[in-house]
Structures are given as structure tokens and as C-alpha cells.
Amino acid sequence: MHETFYRSLYRVRRVEEEVARIYPTDQIKSPTHLSIGQEAISVGVCAALRPDDVVFGTYRGHALYLAKGGSLNQMIAELYGKVTGCARGKGGSMHLIDTAAGMMGTSAVVGTTIPNAVGYAYALKYRRQDQVVASFFGDGATEEGVFHESLNFAALKKLPILFICENNRYAIHTHQSQRQCSEICDRVRAYGIPAERIEQNDLLHLYERVSATVTALRSGESGPVFFECMTYRWREHVGPGNDFHLGYRSQEELQTWLEHDPMLKIGKEVEDDRRSQIEAEVEAEIAEAFAFAEGSPFPDRSELFAHVYKGA
């Protein structure tokens, strides 16, 4: 298990570091919200899911896409705006999707995929299917009314859905304390939905708790479950760089998260040569993905008018 986790964490981290490295060359013409520092949440939850379970995410979706098994080649190609991208270059970094892997999409408008996930869960229950849905969103998204409407409906209909709140404390540059005045978990419990807070990017604990929950969810009877996952964004809100110079948060705040970096922690549990082997494999995969993206063609101009309507 440690090896799987390490590979997944290392892979997501390194992919995004490469994206950040390439970014200044202007080959990626798409606003990019990196998950660096938050990988453990997507990795931990998705490891507890089945391939045929589905997830919905946000514009900060690289980690989720990869953790759920989305095609790396297609993701990088999408960032490059190539026709081989997961959305044929039409969606960009903020709209990753890989339906084959159960990655059902992401939105650039905060909170909008939450009810989509709930509707999908309704369909699963209606069809008596035993898959589950996981809806990923940030702390800021919980301020949108649709979050509450979604909780109420999901609880009312006892839907097989996991709500995963990645609480990195910030909405862009504004701290949670300036936007909310009570605990998110308490707000969720008020709907009769079990809510649990996972501290400090604790991947293993998150994985255990989600695994335990998901089994009950599959029966279609237990109803929704909520996890508030405390995590931290290392880089700027959007773009490849750091933003501590802006002064809205301190380098010290970052420090404690660096010390608890799940990748390093779990890396220690993997023998050195095994680890270097994994890293070598991942590096090769990444190099190949960027090569694939660079080598791929842009969509033909005629694609502008394709996909407006299905069957038209």
C-alpha cells in the first residue's frame, strides 16, 4: 500500500512541478491551479474508491484527475491545447474529464459540480447500482447556497455520495475566518450527515476512514458522508509560482505543512531502491506525456463548430 500511495503522490507532485516548470515557456495557455501540497486528499480518497466509482472536482483538478486514473497523456495534451487532450483542447486545465476513469468533470465556477455529483448519485440509487460518487470542493465552496441545497437533497434521499471538502483555509487570498464564523462540520451535521475532520493531510487515516464508509454507502441505504480534509496549498492560487510576498499568509504557516508532507512521510516507508525505481518509472512516464503533448497536433480550425449540439 505504501508503494502505491508513494507512486501516486510522487506522480501528482512531479507532474505539477513539471507543469510549473514549463509554464513560463507559454506553451500552456490555460489558467492553472496547482494542487501541490494537497495531493494526499485526492490520492487517499481515490485509493478507497473503485474504478467504476465516479468523482467530480474543481478547476484545481489535476491531482483528482490523476489519482482517479485519468490519462496523463491526455491531461498534458489538454493543457497544451492539443486535439489529443481529454477535451480535445477545448476545456483546458480547469475542465479536465476522463469518463472512462470515472472522472466526470470539473468546473471553473465554484461549487457548481456539487449538485451535479448529487444528481449522479441519485441516478446510481435509482438504478440500484452499487457505485458511489465523491464530490470534491474547497472550503470556499461551502459558502455557496448550492452547497446547502445539495446537502439537504442528498440527505433527504439518502444518496450514495461522499462530500470531500479540501480545506486549505483560503479562498484565493482570503482566510476562512474572514468568510465564515462557525465549523463547516457542524454546518453539515445539522443535515443529519455524519461529518468528520481529517487533520494535517493525514493520508493513511483518510484512506482508512473513507474505505470504512464507502462499504456502507454502496448498500444505498446509509446516505451521504462528509469529510473535511485539512490541507494546504503551497503555491499561488493560480499559476506556477509562490505568493508569500503578497503578505496574506506567512512562510511559517507553510513550514508546518512542509514538515508533514505526506509524500516524504510515506516515502520513508518505502525501501530506497524500490523508491528510486518508482521515481524513475514516474519520471519516464511524465517525460513521455510532455513529449506526447508537444508532438500532438492542435485541433483543426473546423473543430470550432463541432460539439455545440450532440447529433447536429
Binding site: M104, G105, N116, V118, G119, Y126, K310
Partner: protein, 349 residues
Amino acid sequence: MLDRTLSFVDAIQEATDLEMERDDRVLLFGLDVDDPKAILGTTRGLPEKYGPERVFGTPLSEDAMTGGAIGMALAGLRPIHVHIRMDFLMLAMNQLVNVAAKSHYMYGGLVHLPLVVRSIIGKSWGQGAQHSQAFYSFFMHVPGLKVVAPTTPYDAKGCLIAAIRDDNPVMFVEHRILYYQKGPVPEGDYEVTPGKARITAEGEDVTLVGISYMQIECLRAQRYLEEVGIRSEVIDPIWLSPLDIETIANSVRKTRHLCVVDNGWTTCGASAEIVAQVLEQLQDEPGIKVKRMGFASVTCPTTPVLETEFYPNGQTIASAVFSLVRGKDKTWMPELRPELKDIEFKGPF
């Protein structure tokens, strides 16, 4: 079969029932669809027949329920989401405009959304500012959505069946005043397919395009105009997106006069689009006269004396068309003819 007549309400109910019978992916939900009034009867009997998982009322949560419908469609279901007032769609705009309209394109065709959003326009009896609006121009504006506003029971049934079978999000717009109109409706299923307008009366002198309920008022105007020998060709676009501009433009090429009467405001409305497209197409044919009519450019008032002024009607349309055809300086206002107060639909097929 053709002499079987149904009300608009029953046509909607029958179309829904037929499709739900045919395809168990079709779901029906929305506020009060399962209550005793059954959305003025349009969902009557369906909760009992299909059960609470396929037909259900919802909490007052338009935004999330619209997002939910999208999620169901992503999962392969074919939801029908009902709103008793089109005004309430303003709470669902984010999901409709930013998600439903976009998904198929934004994801490179990987997903599609077979989704029908039914909503009803109110009129008269002091519906007022927030219960009388028709927003279809908003949905015409945004690529990725289809929009239909049938007027006859025949089209209501055929368009709803077509909408349910369409693989794209369709805004299905109903007008409450049409609900009790009766007309011939064949049994069994048939589609009134997107993008085809219907000529409801033939004439040589002027083309009247009546949208939604205003189709009825245009048919009344056409009768009034006969009094002064003006022969109107009346067209019901039925589908506003895709819009059958050819049928309209061809008619105008013949009549040289176009009056578009909308059941909504004219500014940036469907009437603006139709007038603009027709004149773009016919700009090599000088001398074409156009006129737009619709809601007065004000908020809908409740008091009857002002509300009657707010809407065009058969007489005011006839009067405006008279001046359009005979010249600005010529004016005429027909006497109210009681027998034109109610028009029974005659088809056509």
C-alpha cells in the same frame, strides 16, 4: 384520429406518460409535480403510475435541482425538470448557462446532456412583476441550449416528445393561457422536430410571426385584418433555437412586410433576432417594412387597467399592421369581435 381533441394540459401529460412508458431513463421532478394540483394537471396520474423514485417533488432548491438534473443526465438518465413559473429559472441560470449549455462542447463531445426543463409563463389576474416573465431570449443567446415554445396541443405533445428524445438540454416553454386551449391531437407518439416553423395561415400582404401565446393573438389579428382586406400570413416558429428563419424569410420575400409579435420584451429579444436575421437575408430586396411588438418596455403591473396595456392583443396588432402595410399616416383600430375572444385550434398537420 384527427378528430380526437385534447387540451394543452392533457397533451403535455400524455407526451410525458408515453415517453416514460417507452423509456425508463426518463424521470420527472420539480417542485409540486406530485402534489394534488399536479402542475395544473400536466403531471396528473404520473406519480401513482411511475412511483416516487421516477416522479418526485423537490425541496425549494432550484439551483441544486437543476445541477442535479445535469448530474442525472451525465449518468445516462433523461430527466424532465419542471418549474411552475419561468421567473424562477433566474435561480437556475448558473447551472443552465454555465454548465448545461457548455458541457458537450467544453468536454470535447465526451459527454452530452439529455435534459428537458419545462417552465410556464404566467399572464393576467395580477401575476405581476415576478410571475409573468418569458426569458427564452436568454436561452436563445447561449449556444448549446435548444428552446421551444409550442402553442397548440398538437405541437405541445410533439415538441415535448422530441425534446425528451433530444440529446441536448432543451428549454421547453409553456404559456399558462394556452393550457385550456383544445385542439386535435393524434394518439400514440410523434415528434415535432427542432428547427421547423409552421405556417398557420396563408396570406399575401404581411407576415405575422407570433411567438408562444402571441401566436393566438396573431391569428386573431389576421381575422381582424380581413375586414380591411389585408391578407396575413401567420407563422408559428415553434422552435426558437434552432430557429427556422428560412420559412419566415421566404414568407417575407413574398409579403414584403414583417411584424413579429413576441410574448416577451422586444429589446434583445426573440423579435430583435428574427427581424435582424430576416433583413440580413433580404438586404438585396429593398423596401421591406418591419415591426416588432411585445411586452411594453416596463415591469408587468398587476392592476388590470395597466396590464391590458402591457400586452399586445389581436386588435392592437391588427392596428399596427394596418399602418405598417398601408403607411404610417394611415390608422385603423378594429372593433372588438367577441367571437374572436377564443380560438379553437384546427391543426394543421
